[in-house]
């Protein structure tokens, strides 16, 4: 007859795993790696914005008010999305993991519910505005750019849009699953 005390004793007597040698040093190294990755991400984001601004000057967009406004629209929505993501990651990091489980759970739930709202409302608006800006810019791209570059821009934009939509869809599905499980 198995009692709970037997289970407890089985649990306590299970084979103990060795503590990894220098395990604590590996943890500290890992944290430094994470910090480096964060810096790289920030550099990539800044470079993307710089490329967009550079492109703005390259095609002398400032000569046309429409082109200027449309490019500004594209840069702004991209920036807004980046800022939202940045704030969101920061908020997740700031959720106190040392709090008791009930508090932690409700904080995590609130966080993911907000994320879902962002995904369902703000992200589609951003994608729509970005695509709109791009489509309206196509005539001036055709005038200012070589045919090869123009074709390249159209194809790369379509591919980027498809990849972006698929990626966001996957992310939403994953986060919905987390919310459901909490």
């Amino acid at each position: 007859m198995t009692t709970f005390e037997d289970l407890k004793s089985d649990w306590k007597n299970q084979p103990e795993q060795n503590i990894p040698e220098d395990g604590f040093k590996i943890i500290i190294q890992k944290i430094n790696e994470l910090k480096r990755k964060q810096i790289i991400t920030n550099v990539v984001l800044i470079l993307t914005i710089l490329i967009l601004v550079g492109f703005f000057f390259y095609i002398q967009a400032y000569n046309s008010t429409t082109v200027t406004l449309l490019l500004l629209l594209m840069i702004s929505v991209l920036l807004i999305r980046v800022i939202i993501e940045y704030i969101s990651i920061k908020k997740l990091k700031n959720i106190d993991v040392t709090a008791n489980s009930s508090v932690f759970n409700s904080n995590i739930k609130a966080y993911y519910k907000k994320r879902i709202k962002t995904h369902y409302i703000i992200t589609p608006i951003i994608i729509l505005l970005y695509s709109l800006g791009f489509i309206l810019l196509l005539p001036s791209f055709k005038i200012h750019l070589s045919e090869g570059f123009y074709t390249y821009i159209i194809f790369s934009a379509i591919i980027t849009l498809i990849v972006m939509v698929l990626f966001i869809r996957k992310q939403i599905k994953k986060e919905l699953l987390i919310v459901k499980g909490l």
Binding site: T2, T3, F4, L7, K8, D10, W11, K12, N13, Q14, P15, E16, Q17, I19, P20, G23, F24, I26, I27, I28, K30, I31, L34, V97, T98, A99, N100, S101, S102, V103, F104, N105, I108, K174, L177, I178, G181, L182
Partner: protein, 162 residues
């Protein structure tokens, strides 16, 4: 910095087996996944060590981080295969009798069938923590914990007997 590092080293070495055992309970005994989770837990321990204020014991504090980390990380990757746990238990200790091994596998399986909150409560109970401490980690009243432990104990014992 050096003082904090040496504090972290001793915290790591004292608590590593406990944290790993708890993670094994959440992952159906999957050793590789549990080691990853344990590493994740200690990353958070290091990141928060400066803010630890002796309001509770360090082990209670670490258990809180472990429970929270395991819950959220396992939500991200929900599926845990039992087959991997079978291999891990077998590899870990040659002297560990076959009968005990079977019992442990069954125990992991039954824990895996519980709701996540019940899993946390019973794993802490199996670790031998006082109910008051479990209540503190879970953020529930002592009375609620007492009733739940009684219920989960019965559920778990019935499941293991099957």
């Amino acid at each position: 910095m050096k003082a904090l590092e040496s504090q972290f080293k001793s915290v790591y070495e004292v608590n590593y087996p406990k944290v790993l055992r708890l993670c094994l309970g959440y992952t159906n005994g999957d050793l590789i996944r549990s080691k990853d989770l344990t590493q994740e837990v200690f990353i958070k321990v290091w990141q928060n060590l400066k803010s630890f204020r002796n309001q509770s014991s360090i082990s209670t504090w670490i258990y809180r981080i472990t429970v929270n980390t395991c819950l959220i990380e396992l939500r991200k990757k929900r599926t845990v295969k039992l087959t991997s746990s079978v291999i891990n238990v077998e590899e870990s200790n040659d002297n560990f009798s076959e009968e005990k091994e079977e019992k442990l596998k069954q125990l992991y399986k039954c824990i895996g069938c519980l709701k996540t909150e019940s899993q946390s409560i019973i794993l802490l109970e199996l670790e031998g923590l006082p109910q008051k401490e479990i209540a503190d980690i879970m953020g529930l009243s002592h009375e609620v914990i007492r009733v739940r432990i009684h219920r989960i104990k019965n559920e778990l014992t019935k499941c293991v007997k099957k």
